[in-house]
């Protein structure tokens, strides 16, 4: 199954240029990419993806499409169907919405078209990154951790989890990832019950044994791969040593 590639841009001249750059690059590098559509009509992209919901895509989308559906709406709709899709925004400097692209759409990247000399190179870079991620996702099936936030469920790659920690107040848990943390409503006990691959090394800590960097048995501390420290109880120490041996 090839990675499907789409371009949606309202300026026909730019559309042709982008399509040309992409087609050429696929040919030169002989990538397993299928160039599907270069269009001015966002609904055409949406229609194709709705018919082929199982196939992952790489989308280059202009923000201002001169259509009642703008690029951001199109991307949000595509994201609902194609969760793993790679979305790249093509935009002018003044339309740039960096945080919204990153956090709302989880866009792969963005290309600023004001500077025409950089555009071709940036498109090629995006194809490389998207292709690499696509290959990675195809070979390994990642296990996801489900976190309930109200009525919503957020998926987090289990291998990236460092540890869970009880928060100051009851019924709150802090999840630590490599460089971020997330506080949510829940209990360590429930998480421990649902995911046997984590280890309860202390009353207030549930750690991912794969991310342990080193254990200080004397001080009863465990250092995770991101240098954060967790406490280890006397009772849990032998089990942890065995697990990480």
């Amino acid at each position: 199954m090839a990675l499907l590639t789409f371009v949606c841009e309202d300026n026909e001249k730019q559309l042709a240029v982008f399509a040309q750059i992409i087609k050429q690059y696929i040919m030169i590098k002989n990538l397993d990419l299928n160039f599907v559509l270069a269009t001015v009509d966002p609904l055409a992209v949406l229609a194709y993806v709705q018919e082929h919901p199982q196939e992952p895509g790489l989308y280059f989308i202009d923000i201002d499409l001169n259509h009642e559906m703008n690029g951001l709406n199109l991307a949000a709709k595509l994201r609902k169907i194609d969760h793993a899709g790679k979305i790249v925004f093509v935009t002018t400097h003044s339309e740039m919405l960096y945080l919204t692209f990153t956090y709302k759409i989880e866009a792969l990247d963005y290309i600023i078209k004001d500077n025409s000399t950089m555009v071709a190179q940036k498109i090629r870079d995006c194809i490389d990154v998207a292709y690499e991620r696509y290959l990675n996702e195809r070979t390994q099936s990642t296990q996801f951790l489900q976190i309930k936030l109200g009525d919503q469920i957020r998926l987090i790659d289990q291998t990236l989890v460092m540890f869970f920690e009880t928060a100051f107040t009851a019924h709150r848990v802090i999840l630590h990832l490599a460089n971020s943390e997330l506080e949510f409503y829940g209990s360590i006990k429930e998480i421990e019950r649902a995911h046997s691959n984590f280890y309860r090394c202390h009353k207030s800590y549930l750690i991912n044994p794969d991310q342990v960097k080193q254990i200080d048995s004397a001080k009863r501390l465990v250092e995770m791969s991101n240098h954060e420290l967790c406490l280890v109880s006397v009772r849990a120490l032998p089990g942890l040593l065995k697990l990480t041996k």
């Binding site: 003044s94 919405l97 960096y98 945080l99 936030l149 919503q152 709150r172 971020s180 997330l182």
Partner: protein
């Protein structure tokens, strides 16, 4: 028998009352040691000092409570209110007991004292518990408000002194049931009046805060208008320039002077592209926030940031009409987050990029608010950022973050995600719209 149990129980009950008012379930070893000492020695102190033994007991309890709290004033208030409740309960218990014994068969002295302590215990505990619950209902943290209001603490303290003097005089001058009833009535009415005054006081403070908030909004609006006017002038200037440019283009084309056109494009037009993106009105999209309080907190803080030479970026793509939480709490949360961000950017040395970006958008059932600022700290410090009193900026600051966690803890539909990546500190507030706390 009574001489031993009375001071002993007095200390224990008073301590329990204070703990309830303090809303603190845990006790330190030091604290317990002082209490146990007081309990053991209280009969002896009572034996020697008789009625003035409270002069030792009360400071003792005060000291022991201080070991868990660093708020000397708030703790004084707690001890005062705790002992007032115990005093009132003791008197009420005496009255109830008098009523009961006149109706029922005479009880023995020890039975009487058991009844007495059972009554006063349950009364005082329920008084304290009710006060804490009521305070919570009207969204006051008892502990917190005592901390802020010297007045309320002093009122409690004076009431306690009057109450104890009253009790002391009563015991010295004689202890007739009528006198007790009269005293209790007097004390209760005094206390009710005090509470009424307290409530009026809090309400007046609230009004003051409301007025302050309105002033703050008006000021923000004023600044915003000035900013818009400035921008409007820029647009007018641009329009003028644009017309000039078009007419010169016209001239070059009509003359078929393509060399001249090329030179004009490269020298005049191209540089002006940069000018256009530079003079952008950065706060314009804030107009998409339709909640005045939220818009004004962003306006004030972002205008402040701009005036400090920070590059500000705002992204509000679509109108935000409703956010499923108390907007005053959200304003406080945003105020802390933005203040922290601005402070952090300010300590950056000039080799760093100084920028602050915010975004608001709706995704599925959530509203997300993102604040991103450049920063200098290392990844490992994120762990400590939320700890009380800890701040990378030195001692005494950083309380904002612990207040932030405190505010967030009561909101079940809100989560905060913090992230440090490539010297960017990002805070992401996710508010679930379907499940309002």
């Amino acid at each position: 028998m009574d001489a031993i149990s009375k001071p002993l129980l007095h200390v224990i009950f008073l301590y329990l009352n204070c703990k309830i008012l303090q809303e603190e379930k845990k006790a330190t070893k030091k604290e317990l040691a002082i209490i146990v000492g007081l309990v053991l020695f209280s009969p002896i102190i009572y034996h020697f000092l008789r009625l003035s033994y409270s002069l030792i007991i009360l400071p003792g309890i005060y000291l022991s409570l201080l070991t868990t709290s660093d708020e000397a004033l708030a703790t004084l208030g707690i001890v005062s209110y705790g002992s007032i409740f115990l005093l009132i309960s003791n008197n009420l218990a005496t009255i109830i007991l008098n009523l009961l014994t006149s109706n029922m068969a005479r009880l023995s002295v020890s039975q009487k004292s058991i009844f007495f302590w059972a009554f006063s215990f349950s009364l005082s505990v329920s008084f304290c518990w009710c006060l804490v619950k009521i305070a919570k209902k009207v969204k006051l943290n008892f502990n917190l408000d005592l901390k802020r209001n010297l007045f309320v603490t002093l009122m409690g303290f004076v009431t306690m002194v009057i109450g104890y003097t009253n009790a002391y005089l009563r015991l010295v001058l004689g202890n007739s049931p009528n006198l007790i009833q009269l005293n209790t009535l007097f004390l209760i009415s005094y206390f009710l009046i005090s509470i009424l005054v307290f409530i009026l006081y809090v309400l007046s403070i609230r009004n003051k805060e409301e007025i302050k908030r309105k002033e703050f909004e008006a000021e923000a609006l004023q600044q915003y208008t000035e900013e818009v006017e400035l921008h409007y002038n820029e647009v007018r200037k641009f329009k003028h320039d644009y017309q000039n440019i078009l007419s010169s283009l016209d001239q070059y084309i009509l003359d078929n002077d393509y060399e001249g056109l090329k030179a004009f494009y490269l020298n005049k037009l191209k540089p002006s592209f940069d000018e256009i993106s530079k003079s952008e009105f950065k706060l314009g999209s804030l107009s998409n926030i339709k909640i005045p309080e939220i818009k004004s907190i962003f306006l004030v803080k972002l205008l402040l940031a701009q005036s400090l030479g920070i590059k500000v970026q705002v992204e509000v793509g679509e109108p935000i009409k409703h956010i499923a939480m108390d907007s005053l709490i959200l304003v406080r949360i945003l105020g802390i987050i933005l203040d922290n961000a601005i402070e952090e950017i300010q300590v950056l040395t000039s080799e760093f990029n100084k920028s602050l970006s915010i975004a608001l958008f709706e995704s599925k059932d959530d509203i997300q608010i993102i604040v991103k600022n450049t920063c200098h700290y290392e990844l490992s410090s994120i762990h400590q950022l939320k700890r009380e009193g800890f701040s990378t900026k030195g001692n005494g600051r950083g309380y904002g973050l612990s207040i932030l966690s405190e505010l967030l803890n009561n909101l079940h539909n809100v989560i905060l995600e913090t992230k440090i990546e490539n010297s960017d500190f990002t805070q992401r507030l996710i508010i679930n719209q379907k499940k309002e706390a």
